[in-house]
Symmetry: C2
């Protein structure tokens, strides 16, 4: 039995999310169906992060087992033939049988993109969150620094209790302005440092890296940082909100279209 | 009777085009319906360019007549309330009764955007044309220069004869690489010179200004310039194609998603 690892990018706009659900098309169902058409076997495909409806991926990771002998590059192109154009298989590789896309993940990077301009254009409406009021990215970064470390993040979890334990470790939260829509056709990390740092521009990019995320955690964190960026709350309020362990104290859950699962580390 | 001029941006992905048609939703029908809801009158709204299905606009211009006394800024916000989020009213102003969006237009600027990279990401699939083979933008510019002037452009017209006369005057064709998706949240022309000129990058932008365009003319011109960019044809072939006055000699009509009506001059 071979264990195949896939790296996927997808546009989540027209899906109910990664996970198969009765109420609409899911990424998981589309990928499962493509694998079954390619291999002729019943497939079980699991992913690193169960992205919600409308949430996108640049580097989602999934895996499935197969008896087939199809070479990996042919798996990639073969699956692509059975997939709609809003789901892209970036890579397929054979991995050790112990690899599990969900449980082997060490940390994940999510990105949230805000278009902070007076004027709206219709093209990015599903790919950024348009926020027309002025935001102070520097003070949002100060607030973001308060999130680093191991904390009980239940103040940022929708529908608590969703998971047995709401303690997570956040390794990085960076907030920066950029003049270009920070979703490229090239691998992200190569370009990140040079093009984004301290740049002026209409986009604000939030990058959050943690060992795991609670339900809607990134979107509640961004909603909270927005309050700070608007001057309604201070960076120290973020510490208070963590300590209060009460979802109603944090900011709103921002819409899904600005959110991207960027990368998973194993 | 007041004559109201509108400037619109729209995402043409989900429409059959500007013009009302029996086979699906049109931009014109959406705008007409919004005007009728706002004013209570039957409206007739006409535009500078009848964009096709899947073609976008940054600066389409339309006009309609009304007996209503609603101030222009309230017309803008009022219409927006009755429009879906993929159609944006950028401006509403009162103009002389002689103004006609279609017939008063002196020249129009269209832009075509190509993503020239090996890798595809799913997000821009309706907003750029992905062309993975390498393209030489400099030689495409040389070919583009052959289009300048007053010519019979029937070699670039789909379903000839569509219009009584296929002679048009092309004032500008510029081809340039850029590292950012050249569709901004801010007015285009301010940023164009500084950010686009001679820049390296994955995007190729074609800007074409003419006193009028034949059916599918921009997309046939871009398809022709692509052949030159790939090294299959030379810049001089473009002159030959114009002279032959035969659509079958020119390149293919490229897909609609990369095309934007940028600006109309009156």
């Amino acid at each position: 039995m071979r264990n195949i690892r896939l790296t996927l990018a997808y546009d989540g706009t027209n899906y109910v999310g990664w996970q198969i659900q009765p109420n609409g098309p899911s990424i998981q169902a589309a990928v499962k169906s493509a694998i079954e058409k390619l291999t002729g076997e019943t497939a079980n495909v699991l992913a690193a992060g169960r992205t919600d409806s409308g949430v996108h991926a640049l580097g989602q990771v999934a895996n499935f087992c197969t008896e087939s002998f199809i070479p990996c590059e042919k798996i990639r192109t073969g699956l692509q033939r059975f997939l709609p154009e809003d789901i892209i298989i970036r890579e397929a590789s054979e991995v050790d049988e112990s690899f599990h896309a969900t449980y082997s993940a060490k940390q994940k990077r999510y990105r949230y993109v805000i278009l902070n301009s007076r004027m709206v254009l219709p093209f990015l409406r599903n790919y950024v969150y348009h926020h027309h009021r002025e935001l102070d990215a520097a003070v949002m970064q100060q607030a973001a620094d308060r999130l680093i470390g191991t904390h009980d993040f239940r103040s940022f979890e929708s529908q608590f209790p969703n998971k047995a334990c709401s303690v997570r470790t956040v390794m990085e939260v960076t907030v920066g302005r950029c003049s270009i829509w920070p979703v490229w056709s090239e691998p992200i990390q190569q370009r990140q440092e040079t093009e984004l740092t301290n740049c002026r521009g209409d986009y604000i990019r939030f990058d959050i890296v943690a060992d795991g995320f609670l339900y809607n955690m990134v979107r509640a964190i961004v909603g909270t940082l927005l309050k700070v960026g608007e001057g309604k709350w201070t960076p120290d309020d973020v510490r208070r909100i963590i300590d209060q362990q009460d979802r109603s104290q944090a900011g709103e859950t921002v819409p899904p279209g600005g959110l991207y699962l960027v990368h998973v580390d194993y």
